[in-house]
Amino acid sequence: MSPRQSPVPPGWDYNPSAWDQRVPIVVLALVGFAVAGYLALYQWDVFGSVWEPFFGEGSRVILDSSVSHIFPIPDAGLGALGYLLDAVTGVVGGRDRWRTRPWIVIVFGLAVGPLGVASVVLVILQPVLFDAFCTLCLASAVISLVMIGPAMDEVLASLQHLRSVGAEGGSVWRAFLSGEGAR
């Protein structure tokens, strides 16, 4: 296999798009989806109670708060959708998608990053506004933060590839959207 076809990005010693790199992130996203989905079902009154092993009424206080219902659908529902987007964009594309489908890698990064930021904001709001903590909300926040690091190396490989295409006089946009110009 020539360097042009190698799934390992130039200057790297591993392939960030390999399945062994992506599957753990997708599994984490699915676990996050299950946790956030469970909390959303409580917020939608499908369940009458919510599991809370450490903080007494903390989960109820947080999940029933006004902040959790700012948007048309409860915040846990938005989180579940975010995790689902992470899982789907984590699966799409082959093991050289960092250069053949940079757009999906960037969408993947954009889906993972803000979810982590939103999680930290919600973790701050829990005790500051309501003097309460919610165990599964904290677990969801940890999951979303753990996903960021391993997702960003693939984003880095795609951005390096796009820069390389641009430096060679190719169309960065075409490479971004269709993978053309892939070396």
Partner: protein
């Protein structure tokens, strides 16, 4: 990896300290429960090599934490927590561990997208 472990431990400790030491609900508690999860989150993201530099704002957060008893009212134990945690965060954050993997030049090699190819 010292920065990451210390950042996570200090962050979680800051979240728990107001309830454990009995100053929850105070302004000092709000400061620590804002900086705590932020510091822990940044340290957790920085565990991976591609995002290692994300830990660096923890130096600023450590300084803010250490001087917070001067700026807002703190009871004695809250002030002690703030100063110790802040100084530990500042001292530990530069030590992120060795970079073992090659990432093609890192983020400097990824931006700007329209840069000229350098010779060699």
């Amino acid at each position: 990896m010292i920065a990451q472990v210390v950042g996570i431990v200090v962050g979680v400790a800051l979240m728990a300290a107001p309830a454990v030491l009995g100053y929850a609900g105070s302004t000092a508690s709000d400061v620590q429960r804002t900086i705590g999860p932020t510091a822990a989150g940044l340290a957790l993201i920085a565990v991976w090599q591609a995002t290692r530099s994300v830990r660096l704002p923890n130096i600023v957060l450590g300084v803010v934490l250490a001087v917070s008893p001067i700026v807002v009212d703190h009871q004695a134990d809250a002030a002690a927590v703030a100063v110790v945690a802040g100084l530990v965060l500042v001292a530990a954050t530069p030590f992120a561990g060795r970079e073992r993997r090659r990432l093609g030049g890192g983020w400097r090699a990824a931006w700007p997208l329209h840069a000229e190819r350098s010779s060699g």
